[in-house]
Assembly symmetry: C2
Homo-oligomer: 693 residues x 2
């Protein structure tokens, strides 16, 4: 009678049914067993997150960041994959209002990243000998992760095109045909694999079922109902906005009070799981009303007949009656969504498979527990909870419409409204645009819904955006990750900011040939990933850039030239000439360490080394991306966003470095700051910057 | 009996039917009337192209170029739109094997471009007073054209998502969420308009009809048939490649012998139209065989019953028999495609609605005349001819499979094979990838075909690419347009070319303050669109760039300073100081002329003006895009492609201009050239380049 854990139900249900018509003691015993099971599974899921904290949550914010060019630690590790996959199995089995779709996208991305590297320390595999080593750089890895995410979406929703669009919309800001083609191929392979693994009828891991059965060849809705769909979209956007706001406050509270201790996080999972158990058990009891299973099903489709079998008695006579609320709570979320989409209204009168009261009694507690659950230390997707609560809301909406007008055929079937509701709430929560439309369209499998879905999702997005951002963006912001939105913040566009205004003028730079001690101190004093190399011989023009990992490797490998090969050359008059001033380290040696380069702590710097010369010229990137100080902020932003840059040198007309822009400087708050600082202080700072060289 | 011209048939057919069972004289009369009609319509279509030559052809290559950043003259003018729309109506009505989809995409793009400008000289409208004037620049116009193309695809195929993807794949190389969102909104509006204008049953202007009727809830094909679909894809790719090669040779011949004279082009249309008439009339006569219209249609769908009514007797007893070849030739292409897709094989035995012989007798002449037709001086799309011949080929393939195995149900319905054949031939001709899949998928309206379509299209593309390029690309190449493919040519990637190798070192540059005579002579001596301004005071660093239109406007407006305000300042020692040396022209004045700036011929340059000073500093773009000479060709290519650049300054470490790269330098042939020139001559050239400054 409790939420059945595997994919096969029916068997477990039969075992539990005897307790259905029993006394209070048996009810209590049933509840205790149910709660114990749920909590046990939730605890296991939480233990995996304890082991690898990154595997908690849906993983989509992390993938968004990765595709945006931010390399969050441990996001694409094999250990994360393992914890995510096993963890999500248990968290779904625990009956928590969580989905497996987000984690599936994350898993796809990890698999892709792993394949691109052909190397994992976790399993001790390394395929450096093969062609795979060509892929060992951030750009290729990013492309692979985009493909993996596409494959993940494809396997989660059976939506190959939606998957490709998801990757493109979220990450690959540069439309490269090669990448599109790769992602497309990936998604296609995933789809073909799904075809082979499962038989054709249960093709999708996730499906909305068949829609075009009810009405035959004509459309399932009339044109004027598009207006109603827009209203559903607006309401869904509102629900999503409230959900996001509540979850945001909850997350802020959690960050303060819970997240600093792993044990508290574990305890929180136990508590939330118990709350979910109580709510799940109480609601059907509160409903306490048995509904007769429809008898005259001659003209019903096989799909509906199958769904009828999934209805749950919960205290009613098995096989004849069912409890409406229990049927929504205790079946798989997948099945519950299909029930909401496909059960036809039983007749022209009020009686429906799910009545308004039952839908309401399911919708409100479910979305509340979902709000509570997202953010606890278990792997948890958000798509299914949003879709399910949205479907309940949409069906409720359709139901009320049918109450307004009893004649048959004025309004579309409530299932259509359930679909729109699902889209609206999901859209209001996630605020994705074209990719979400395509994903839902592919899951629906029926092209006639393209216009209603587009309208609903747009309405939901616009309504939601009035109040706050999408939930993924909120979580990214809360983590203080310098995530760059696709478009330049409006404040920058309004005020025509130029690169020179936002740059930081505290430039830490190196000379082409530098003393090892200076390099070491510089690396220790700040955590930047890249440093400009400035040619003092030609009056401070930009020579190139040196990355932190390269400098660390050089120091660790002790590629030092004797202190005597060169006198100190601080004056701009001296030309270094072409000779190498320190031993060469092979490029390959530096590259091979990817992605775990030596850290500064691995460097053994002795006092005698500090005066040795480090010749950076062979390793410098001599054609780094730069912007002129008078370049518009739009161009600067676009460079960062399309190329996933983390750092950019700002130069003047003589190619002299006058400042540095990092991602943090381009966030809306930083842009506002630099506007307030104003032109004057900028010019002061400018002088400082030049002084440094 | 001849091809009926409007959208409503049936009425005209009844009038012609008496001639069906008549003697030779009546046949000849019928043919003459038929040929006269066809030729008359074709001549009218051709006259419109005579008036505006750009309106000939499908328009998709022109839109591709526009989105690529190449502003072909007159492509987005209102006159072009008018000629295109009226012309295509007549060329389709003339019964030529042409489609209206390509011209529809072009028309959508023109409408969008017009709206973005809010101004047309053709109708004398100008809305400079409104917000529209903000959109008057090349970038916004490009975005609007992308949206218009999306709307065009949407209206042509009822494929909103396919339309958005088409725009993104073909043009908008930079994935901007704003653009996606706009294109999406455009496509949605188009769809909603279509909904309102037409009733729900005949929703799409172009439709593949309902597919999921035959098999009910199960799939229309078995998994192992995916292999067969790949074979269909390969064969379709082969057909497409042959089609492209033949059309390429024909076009080269045309460019030599026909295109230089408008009268010859007109004559060619008449000749081709007569050939098409003869072939169209001869083929059904050659077939000369009457087939009985199926009687037992109890279990047939309405769609099939409607299609049965479209069958054409052509000499057989009307209402009882039909001529198979005539039914394919003399119906609308739309209907013919649906017939090929949806007529079920009449039984387990050989007899089918269309027999192999008829399909063959239709396919071969049709594709030959289509090859002949594409490129003559009428507006003509390529989608429908490809789809129709592909559908015939695919059905033939399916038919032969059914002959191999007489048992029912081993192979999928021939209609499914017809769909795959249509996709394969279209894919083999156009070589589009993800956008074509989505367009076809949306036209099909059934998600179960996603995997077969993907596989077929990929197979067609790969097979075709072995032999030649897509037809649109071939035509772009033949017109010698510097079109940049999405990916860097492999030769550049293989040889690790840097920007310094491909640049042209013959840089024509100006000084920040220049004598009017020098500017005038420079503009007259070459047609470049942009010139670097080099600051001689600081040793030749790049000051900014000046566009041709800006220089012309300044000369035309006589923004000259007296020759005496400044001595000649060729030496690098002199600083100009901040004072303006010539009267200012308002920026707005320069911008308002967009897109028809004054030409050099509009400038009235007198001898006395030649020594006057032109102060370019207020107008220069002081932060132009540049690349370092050591930058990789990939980065250079990406800059051109993503930003639609036409010109890029190459600078050295001191920001001194060492060369210029234009689009032509990045074409594969130019890259090969610069490789052959080799490093040595590059360095020589490099010296020259510096010498120039």
């Amino acid at each position: 009678m409790f939420y059945d854990v595997g994919l096969d139900d029916g068997a477990t249900q039969a075992d539990e049914d005897p307790s259905a018509s029993a006394g209070t003691t048996e009810w209590v015993a049933a509840f205790l067993a149910f709660a114990a099971y749920q909590t046990f599974f939730a605890a296991i899921a939480s233990l995996f997150v304890w082991w690898e904290p990154v595997s908690g949550g849906s993983g989509i914010p992390e993938i968004k960041c990765f595709l945006n060019g931010i390399d969050l630690p441990r996001v694409v590790r094999v250990k994360t994959l393992l914890c995510k996959v096993v963890g999500v199995t248990f968290s779904v089995a625990a009956g928590l209002p969580v989905g497996k779709e987000g984690p599936m996208v994350h898993s796809g991305a990890v698999v892709a990243a792993g394949i691109s590297q052909g190397k994992t320390r976790f399993w001790g595999v390394d395929t450096s000998f093969s062609k795979f080593s060509d892929f060992r750089n951030d750009r290729e890895k990013r492309d692979f992760v985009a493909c993996g995410a596409a494959a993940g979406v494809c396997s989660a929703f059976g939506a190959p095109i939606g998957g490709v669009l998801f990757s493109l919309e979220e990450g690959a800001s540069y439309w490269s045909t090669k990448l599109t083609w790769r992602a497309f191929f990936c998604a296609m392979t995933t789809l073909a694999t799904l075809f082979w693994v499962r038989n054709m009828d249960t093709l999708w891991l996730f499906s909305f079922g068949e829609f075009n059965i009810l009405s035959g060849e004509s459309s399932n809705f009339s044109i004027w109902e598009l207006g109603l769909f827009v209203i559903v979209g607006c309401l869904g956007g509102l629900i999503g906005a409230v959900f996001n706001a509540a979850n945001e406050h909850l997350t802020i509270w959690r960050m303060k009070r819970i997240n600093h201790s792993k044990f508290r996080r574990f305890l929180e999972v136990i508590v939330v799981s118990l709350i979910v158990s109580v709510v799940s058990f109480l609601m059907p009891l509160l409903w306490g009303h048995c509904t007769k299973i429809p008898k005259d099903m001659q003209e019903w489709t096989n799909q509906e007949k199958n769904l009828i079998e999934e209805l749950i008695p919960f205290g009613c006579t098995p096989g004849k009656e069912y409890n409406e609320v229990a049927s929504l709570i205790f079946t798989e979320a997948d099945t519950a969504i299909k029930q909401l989409f496909h059960f036809r209204e039983a007749g022209a009168d009020d009686s429906s498979t799910f009545s308004s009261g039952a839908l309401f009694l399911f919708f409100v507690p479910y979305i509340l527990t979902a709000t509570l659950t997202y953010g606890i230390a278990v792997p948890s997707g958000l798509f299914v909870p949003s879709l399910l609560s949205g479907a309940a809301f949409g069906r409720l909406f359709g139901h009320l419409l049918h109450k307004l007008d009893h004649t048959n055929g004025t309004f579309a079937d409530s299932g259509t409204y359930a679909l729109m509701g699902a889209a609206a709430v999901l859209g209001g929560m996630a605020r994705m645009t074209i990719s979400l439309t395509v994903i839902l369209l592919e899951a629906t499998g029926d092209m006639q819904y393209v216009l209603p879905l587009m309208l609903t999702l747009m309405a939901a997005r616009f309504t939601g955006n009035v109040f706050n951002e999408g939930l993924y963006d909120i979580h990214i912001k809360l983590k203080k990750i310098p995530f760059l939105e696709p478009d330049v913040p409006p404040i920058a566009e309004r005020n025509e900011i130029v690169a020179g205004q936002v740059m930081s003028t505290q430039v830490k730079c190196l000379r082409p040939v530098e003393r090892a001690g200076v390099v070491y101190d510089l690396l220790r004093s700040c955590g930047h990933g890249s440093f400009p190399i400035v040619d003092t011989a030609s009056g401070g023009t930009l020579y190139g850039t040196a990355s932190r990992y390269m400098l660390c490797t050089l120091l660790q490998r002790r590629a030092f030239g004797s202190p005597d090969v060169l006198e100190d050359y601080d004056g701009p008059q001296q030309h270094l000439g072409p000779r190498r001033l320190s031993p060469l380290v092979q490029w390959d040696t530096i590259e091979r360490a990817y992605p775990r380069y030596p850290k500064l702590s691995d460097v053994d710097m002795r006092e005698g080394d500090r005066n040795c010369w480090l010749d950076l010229r062979p390793y410098a990137n001599t054609a780094p991306y730069t912007v002129n100080e008078t370049a518009s902020i739009q161009r600067t932003y676009r460079l960062f966003r399309t190329l996933g840059l983390r750092f950019l040198c700002v130069v003047n007309h003589n190619n002299q470095v006058v400042g540095i822009i990092t991602r943090k400087d381009l966030l809306p708050e930083a842009l506002t700051d630099s506007l307030l600082r104003g032109r004057l202080s900028h010019e002061e700072a400018d002088e400082d910057g030049r002084g440094m060289l």
